[in-house]
Amino acid sequence: MSTDKTFRMDGKAIPFEAGETVMDAALRAGEYIPHLCHNPNFPPHGSCRVCVVDVNGKHMCSCTLEAAEHMEVDNSSDAIIDKRRTLLQMLFVEGNHTCPACEKSGDCQLQAVAYHTRMLSPHFTHFFPKRSIDPSHPDMMFYYNRCILCGLCVRVSRDVDKKSVFAISGRGIDSRLVFNSPSGKLGDSDFSATDEAAKVCPVGAILPKHVGYETPIGQRLYDNKPISVVGDTIAKNHSEKPVVIGGPHE
């Protein structure tokens, strides 16, 4: 893709197309900006704020920010990494993220992005919220403990699978994922293990049954290489058939 427009990120010129976001331009140039609710295959959501960058002195969400010339973007200073780490620490203490007991461990984007920010402790006081699981679906499990409300399943199920399965209900700390079925159970909804939405969860909230530890701990995506090198978990699932729907501002 040729373009003569650029902005600068960490001292490097990043080319961009008109209407392209800072995130998309950076990823295309091979520069990693941490993200959780964003999946480059789908329109941005801008809810997790982990992709925060400093643009000309202001903190901006790079997945929703349209690139412009003369932008000076800080993606890697200690100050911006501190901000991201704080956001991640809040995500960790709000849920129940018991990595040693989670079958997503090693393939989990939340964990990998936390490693990227050099997070060693949760810092804050844990909420230890009482949350359940929904095992009602024959092929898929849902763990409320691990859901970070990124909204990816909601968006992908609606926009790609053309189904009405997921929604985020409630407000603030009471927000939770809900399923569209008479019983409220995932197993009674239209959800299928072959849906695109079954592949996009960045954490271990939506997991297929019967395959838990097929890839042993130690051989997983983020066990030996950082996410800035190997990319998103979901990229693995979409490696054969990338799903692109519309531009960043559809």
Partner: protein, 189 residues
């Protein structure tokens, strides 16, 4: 004072290290021992005070305290506060110490329900009753990571942190260097 008590004075030229296991599985201590023959190099640099390795039961003034496990009962609180009072540098070692880990999964349930499940309704329980001997430390309502009880200076995540993580941490710290881990040495599982 007997000869035996005088025989092992703590050497002033070595840093003094104490360790303790609170509500955990002892896996972090096993991982520390996995430094294998490097423990001979380590004891040239440090002197172990209270630790399950020496079986010394009381903690004296220490340079470094390593705590494995989370805080799940009244005795854990007491030991942790003792360590904080006696250690210049206190380190939370392993997933349980850092964020509650596996023991904190009981926070999903009422303590009463946990005890009844194990001691009253459990399969094969003989003479069902909840143990109430005064010698048994009272369980806390919730399990807590260490930093929710005392100030912690360093965190070593991992279930357990690998032997190389311990080795890198201790040798960097003792040498007065900035503690820096390669990617493969920091993991939460």
């Amino acid at each position: 004072m007997s000869d035996l008590q005088q025989a092992a004075p703590l050497r002033k030229d070595k840093l003094i290290v104490s360790t303790a296991a609170l509500c955990g599985c002892f896996g972090c201590h096993m991982s520390l021992l996995d430094i294998d023959e490097r423990i001979l190099d380590l004891v040239e640099l440090v002197e172990f005070d209270r630790t399950p390795i020496t079986d010394i039961k009381t903690v004296g003034k220490c340079d470094i305290g390593l705590i494995e496990g989370s805080v799940g009962n009244a005795e854990n609180v007491e030991v942790l506060r003792e360590f904080r009072n006696h250690c210049d540098i206190l380190v939370a070692v392993g997933a349980c110490a850092v964020n509650g880990g596996i023991p904190a999964m009981r926070n999903q349930f009422e303590l009463k329900d946990c005890l009844e499940e194990v001691y009253i309704h459990g399969i094969g329980v003989d003479n069902p009753h909840i143990p109430n001997d005064v010698e048994i430390p009272l369980l806390l309502d919730k399990v807590h990571p260490l930093h929710e009880v005392v100030r912690i200076d360093y965190f070593l995540p991992g279930c357990p942190p690998s032997a190389d993580t311990f080795w890198t941490f201790l040798t960097n710290l003792i040498a007065g260097k900035e503690i820096s881990f390669p990617y493969s040495l920091i993991h939460y599982d």
